[in-house]
């Protein structure tokens, strides 16, 4: 089941806020994700949880995607597009 960019963004803000222990309102979707000081364990947890929730598996090193889409908003849009495209392929 594909999810909208907004849903993905909300989920990511919620998860990120819990991982870095700040209020969700303090997470700015227009700022680079790495600016929130995620350590390696938190980053790995974030990525694996995101994959589980989306039912989507990154190819290779997911951090390359984070390099291409460093801000939450852009990453959410990319993932929404990917999951929707995958759903179409599956339905076909």
């Amino acid at each position: 089941m594909s999810r909208s960019a907004q849903q993905i963004q909300d989920w990511m803000i919620d998860r990120l806020s819990r991982l870095v222990r700040v209020a969700p309102s303090e997470i700015d979707p227009r700022k680079p994700i790495r600016r929130y000081g995620l350590d390696s364990v938190a980053l790995v947890t974030f990525v694996t949880d995101l994959e589980k929730w989306l039912g989507y598996r990154f190819h290779g090193n997911p951090l390359d995607v984070l390099d291409d889409y460093p801000i939450l908003e852009a990453l959410a849009a990319f993932l929404a597009e990917q999951t929707a495209a995958d759903d179409k392929v599956t339905e076909a």
Binding site: N61, L63, D64, Y69, A77, T83
Partner: protein, 889 residues
């Protein structure tokens, strides 16, 4: 669902901020006060560096002046010119700070490497080409000790890896200016131990905030760095226990903690480096984050040398983890963590190779790093578990239970911090002091751990726990007060005031710290605060010219790398290490070992003495020690023959003739000259009046000889040979050797002879003083120490009718020291010596022509010394005893 390669899609957002981030326009009126504020703070920083002589052995003050001067121009340039200006400043500074001979190699080879990165070839071919170039450079590095190597290595050895990694998926080549700024960045010209800048971060953070916020942040980092460096000095001089004091548990723990705390020097440098880069718009993240307060092993890894952690995570941890996560998150994490620590071990050796041309790979270290990796892997499992747990809402009630819970949390955290600190200190000691585990075992089994010691340590732990509880309660109290202020309308105003005060305080704090530092750096200010404070401040203003004995004992990986000299340009008037041909491998092995073979341990005053009747080959030349323990002929007798005029030479391995044959040391050659100058008397049988018919020159030279050794040797041995004249041969480093030796004598609680006792009393030193402090204090008294030794030698000689002669023999490879040659000669003269100056004995020949190895003259060098001495003696008959003068009956 299927997997998609992200590289196939066009990114929705620009990933590279190739041009500078847009900044709000700054008007002259708004910028000027802030510019002046930053400038004044930078001036105070330069003053502090000058007053405290921060890093005096490298061109740090000059670098700061260049950086501040550059900032004054850079800040007013239109933004599009700033990066070009920074590159120009860095390249010009390379020439100015290092001198053209070094800079041309640095810029040439560095430029070549960057060019390879820009070749229009597929990424993997460029990597292959650079790897091949790296192998060729490594082969060159093995044989070359030229001055450009440490800096070139520091610029490229890691950053090139990050740079290539970041460019593996590039669609657009980075502008050349970005690459030049990244590799040749200004602070690297002074610091060879450098944080591994991430290329992506370096570019993305360039002017990503309002400029003056970045500049002010840079000032704050530099100030923090300076405080770290001064704290390092304080620990080195005042807290680090002397090795002989580590006899019980409290001192052991203090030693461990102080040893680990010496890392402040590295964090201080890194803060200064990133602070300087902030001044040119690079808003880099912090390199260290309160690492002494880490509460777990993984927490240390995240707080100490963060750039290293990020580098390892980027190039090793994440690629390995994501490649293996099919095995399950936990197993993949364990393997990735272990891989990171193995790579850390190997890369530290890789770093040492490029910086020092040594490759220290030992199984002990491998085991140590692998153990650390296993502890980390275990810790990461707990961290993973903790991250996966939902964080429960905390009860914010103010009841007794809340207080108890907070107190418990504070106590637990304090215990965790102390435990982590101890664990890391132990790791640090094992890493930096290979002999530490065996010393620890000996200490543990020798009854050093007593009940008193255990109770003392438990007292410290209790104090730490109490402090942890108080801090936790204070933090919670402040948080609650803030919440109340925010919630209550009437408190909102107070809340705003509190926050404004905090913001202003943050801006004012660096300036306030700088003012205090500058005041503390002015000697007159210290005097007004009392003698004790004045003394501490005076000590902090000193950087011992040589590593303090005690610190040498605890110096490890970082200190070795930190002490790599940076050759300063002759324009700066600093004496850098001379470019020299490295002795070949066999010679390198021979030098320290051979001297150990031919000598035996003696007491603390003599330390080592030549083994009587030792024979061997050094640097391909025969070296014989006679039965009396002298590098001289076998037929020498202690009793002076009646027909002999005896001249005794005392000095270093140069006098001993290390690296030349038995007949080639200059005292032997001089003897031949002197006797040749007396043909009439030589032919003549010994007359009735007792005048000698020949001159005998005795060689009492020994290796690793310093003034106190020589004094001891003269007193115990030389005088028994009844010489007619004593020739004391000195080089440039007289004062340093004396200070270090005296420090050792004091730290080993030797009963000092009268001539040294008085000076030690004057310096206010007692046997309890830490060696670091002793050496620093004695540095001030170096001239008095040397003169005391000289005066005693001269007095003893005169009492026995021996002519004392002091010979200044400057060696090309010995660095000039704090005492000028003229001062040394003046000291010797005042002490009662006849002084001879053999400067320019090498007659303008280069070190290649006259050196057997990097320190010792070859046969030609010895011959030149002998000839120069003969010429000087011919002009100065007062430097010969009457029995040896030309034409003596």
């Amino acid at each position: 669902m299927t997997a998609h390669s992200p590289s196939l899609h066009t990114p929705a957002v620009a990933t590279e901020q190739l041009s500078v981030s847009p900044c709000p326009p700054i008007t002259l009126s708004s910028a000027l006060p802030r510019f002046l504020s930053v400038t004044v703070q930078l001036a105070l920083i330069v003053l502090t560096v000058h007053l405290f002589k921060i890093e005096p052995n490298r061109p740090f003050l000059a670098l700061m002046c260049l950086a501040v001067g550059g900032f004054l121009v850079h800040a007013w340039l239109p933004q599009r010119f700033r990066l070009a200006f920074f590159c120009l400043l860095s390249l010009a500074s390379a020439v100015l700070l290092l001198g053209w001979p070094t800079a041309r190699w640095l810029l040439g080879l560095g430029g070549g490497l960057i060019t390879l990165c820009y070749l229009p070839l597929p990424w993997k071919y460029r990597v292959l080409l650079i790897a091949l170039t790296g192998v060729l450079l490594a082969l060159w590095r093995i044989e070359s000790a030229q001055a450009f190597w440490p800096i070139l290595s520091s610029m490229f050895m890691f950053r090139l890896l990050v740079y290539l990694y970041d460019r593996r998926r590039e669609r657009v080549r980075p502008p050349l200016l970005h690459s030049l700024a990244y590799f040749f960045c200004l602070p690297n010209l002074c610091f060879t131990l450098f944080p591994i800048l991430d290329f992506k971060t370096f570019r993305q953070t360039y002017y990503d905030e309002e400029p003056y916020t970045i500049y002010q942040s840079g000032v704050a980092w530099i100030v923090r760095g300076l405080t770290h460096l001064l704290a390092y000095r304080f620990i080195k001089y005042y807290l680090l226990p002397a090795p002989h004091h580590v006899t019980d548990l409290p001192h052991l723990l203090l030693f461990l903690a102080a040893n680990y705390a010496l890392y402040l020097r590295v964090s201080g440098w890194f803060h200064i480096i990133t602070g300087l880069l902030h001044l040119f718009g690079f808003n880099l993240p912090r390199t260290h984050h309160n690492y002494f307060l880490a509460s777990s092993v993984s927490d240390v890894w995240r707080r100490i040398n963060i750039y290293w952690k990020d580098f390892m995570a980027k190039l090793f941890f994440y690629p390995v983890f994501f490649a293996l996560r099919g095995w399950g998150t936990r197993l993949a994490m364990v393997v990735a963590a272990l891989g990171v620590f193995v790579a850390t071990w190997l890369l530290h050796s890789y770093q040492t190779f490029w910086l020092r041309a040594e490759l220290p790979l030992t199984w002990n270290e491998a085991l140590l790093w692998l153990s650390a990796g296993m502890v980390m892997a275990l810790n990461l499992q707990f961290d993973l578990l903790a991250e996966q747990k939902e964080k429960k809402e905390q009860n914010q009630s103010n009841g007794a239970f809340f207080l108890f819970r907070e107190a418990l949390a504070g106590a637990t955290l304090a215990l965790r911090i102390m435990g982590t600190f101890l664990l890391v200190s132990l790791f640090w000691a094992c890493w930096t002091l290979p002999q530490f585990p065996s010393s620890l075992y000996m200490l543990a089994t020798s009854g050093a751990i007593t009940a008193v010691g255990v109770w003392t340590v438990l007292g410290w732990v209790a104090a730490g726990v109490v402090a942890g509880v108080l801090v936790r309660l204070a933090q919670r109290g402040m948080q609650n007060a803030e919440c109340r202020m925010q919630n209550e309308r009437q408190g909102w105003f107070s809340f705003c005031i509190l926050h404004s005060a905090f913001r202003i305080g943050k801006a004012v704090l660096p300036a306030a710290v700088l003012l205090v530092l500058v005041a503390a750096g002015i000697p007159q200010v210290g005097v007004t605060l009392g003698p004790r404070v004045a003394e501490v401040l005076a000590t902090l203003r000193l950087e011992a010219t040589a590593p303090v004995e005690a610190v040498v004992a605890v110096q490890g990986y970082y200190d070795q790398l930190a002490d790599i000299p940076v050759q300063a340009s002759p324009l700066l008037g600093m004496s850098g290490p001379p470019e020299q041909k490295r002795p070949n491998k066999q010679q390198q092995k021979q030098l320290p070992r051979a001297y150990t073979y031919m000598t035996q341990p003696a007491d603390d005053f003599l330390e080592r003495e030549l083994i009587p009747s030792w024979r061997g080959e050094i640097l391909g030349k025969r070296l014989t020690i006679n039965r009396l323990g002298m590098r001289d002929r076998e037929d020498i007798t202690r009793e002076k023959p009646a027909d002999v005029c005896r001249l005794a030479f005392v000095g270093t391995s140069v006098v001993m003739g290390y690296g030349v044959g038995d007949d080639e040391p200059f005292p032997r050659l001089l003897e031949a000259h002197l006797n040749a100058d007396r043909p009439a008397t030589q032919e003549r049988p010994r007359p009735e009046n007792g005048r000698p018919r020949r001159v005998e020159v005795l060689n009492f030279g020994t290796g690793k000889s310093q003034p106190i050794h020589r004094h001891t040797l003269i007193e115990r041995k030389v005088l028994a040979f009844e010489p007619d004249a004593l020739y004391y041969v000195a080089h440039q480093d007289e004062n340093e050797g004396a200070v270090r030796h005296l420090t050792r004598l004091i730290s080993r609680r030797n009963e000092l002879p009268a001539y040294l006792r008085e000076i030690v009393q004057q310096a206010g030193i007692d046997p309890q003083s830490p060696p670091g402090l002793v050496e620093v204090r004695l540095q001030v008294f170096a001239p008095q120490i040397v003169q005391g030794i000289y005066a005693d030698i001269a007095k003893r000689c005169r009492q026995r009718g021996i002519l004392p002669v002091w010979i200044y023999l400057p060696m090309p490879e010995v660095k000039d020291t704090t005492l000028e040659s003229s001062e040394l000669m003046s000291l010797a003269e005042k002490a009662g010596f006849v002084v001879l100056n053999l400067a320019k004995w090498d007659a303008g020949r280069g070190p290649e022509a006259i050196s057997a190895d990097k320190l010792h003259p070859n046969a030609l060098g010895q011959q030149l010394i002998a000839e120069r001495l003969r010429t000087v003696l011919q002009k100065r008959p007062d430097a010969l005893p009457a029995c040896a003068r030309r034409g003596a009956p």
